[in-house]
Each structure stands twice: as structure tokens, then as C-alpha cells.
Amino acid sequence: MSVTATIRIQEADFDVAQEIAALSKGRTDVGAVVTFSGICRGSENGEPIAALTLEHYPGMAEAEIGRHADEALSRWPLQGLTIIHRFGRIAPGENIVLVAAASPHRQAAFEAAEFLMDYLKTNAPFWKREESEKGTSWVEARDHDDAAAARWTKP
């Protein structure tokens, strides 16, 4: 069975429920669906945030995420994989990113979703800018995200 990932880089919001349903509806071979939803928080380090703006590198974002989705499909026995990443202005409480993985086995679904989230946090060409009362500033990359991503590197 050949599985193709669904990848969407879009400005519009998305519906997590619809994406889960698309992975498992009408089939009876899926035993586990793991989803990760990343949501815009209303404050960072105690300071209120009015919105995030996500800039991305069109073309490279799709290609890079596609390569990592293919890697996940080859490393874990997945039956479906959906990755959605938004760009543009995103208000607190709104979705930023979704990874949903379907598998006969729970561990595979968990690991694939974690692998892809660690990748998206560190190497997908997206950049977050925060708007607060003090003005706007680019979010800085965090070392512990790099460490999380390094877990998956094959020796």
C-alpha cells in the first residue's frame, strides 16, 4: 500500500475534526490516530501578544515538508499523514499547525507526529513575528527545539 501525505501551506484556518475524519472515515484498518494542534498563545513570557505573523519561503516550505513527510512514511508504518501549516497573521487561540498521523499501532503514530513537529519547529522555513504593546519582534529560535529535533537523526 502506497501512502501519500497531504500537505497544505495556507493562510486560511483549518478544521482539525475534518482532517481527522479524512484520515480514518470509511476505512477499518486504522487503529490509532494521533494529532498535534499548535495554537497561537495570547502571551509569551508573561507579556500579552496581540497576534503572530508567520512569514514563509513559498516553494521551499512545501518541498522541505514534503521531504520530511516522505521520511516519516518510510520510517513508520503509517496509513495516512496530514500536515497543515498556516502563514500570515494569526490571532491568539487560532490554529497555527496540524500534524495528524494514522497507523495500525499507537507508537508509530505518536513517534511520527513528534518527529514531524520537532522538524517543523527547527527546520521548516517559517519565521514568527510577535505583535505586542511594545511593538513587533521576531521570535528567537530555541536551543531545546534543536535538541528535540536532533533526537531523530540516524547515526
Partner: protein, 83 residues
């Protein structure tokens, strides 16, 4: 060769995209950063800490010593913060 800039690199340079023709002795990504930095204050500011800058050639991540010959599109940007 087309050069693209993203996030605060873009803001500092002042343009999102431009076409440049570096001299033949500019062979690597690092050479290109050096050459761009010499083009004016905005570039010097954008590339003031070259170690922080990430680069991609034709939409794939590369290291600073990557050779730029044959590249159609080179991009410079800060560490990524998606997800």
C-alpha cells in the same frame, strides 16, 4: 543569480528579492555573504553575525561552504521558528 531574504534579514537588507552578479572569485555561500556585506550599510547590518545566518540554494538548506556555481536561487534567513 536571484537572492531572496526572509524575516529580519529581509527587513535589514530592505528588499525581499534581487538579482545579483557577483564576481567569479565569490565561490561559496560564505563568500557571497562577504561580498553582499560590502555592498552597503544595510547589507553589512543584515550579515553582521554571519554564524546566525542560514542559507538555502535552490530551496534546499546548505552549509556556508557550499559552492554557489550553477545556483538559480540563493536565500538567506535567520534560524527558523515555525511549528
Amino acid at each position: 543569480m536571484r537572492v531572496k531574504y526572509f524575516a529580519w534579514v529581509r527587513e535589514r537588507v530592505g528588499v525581499a528579492e534581487e538579482t545579483v552578479e557577483p564576481p567569479a572569485d565569490v565561490r561559496t555561500v560564505n563568500d557571497l555573504i562577504g561580498w553582499l556585506s560590502s555592498r552597503g550599510e544595510a547589507y553589512a547590518y543584515a550579515f553582521e553575525k554571519p554564524k546566525v545566518i542560514r542559507a538555502a540554494i535552490d530551496q534546499a538548506h546548505v552549509k556556508p561552504d557550499a559552492v554557489i556555481a550553477g545556483a538559480r536561487e540563493i536565500a538567506f534567513f535567520p534560524p527558523m521558528t515555525g511549528g
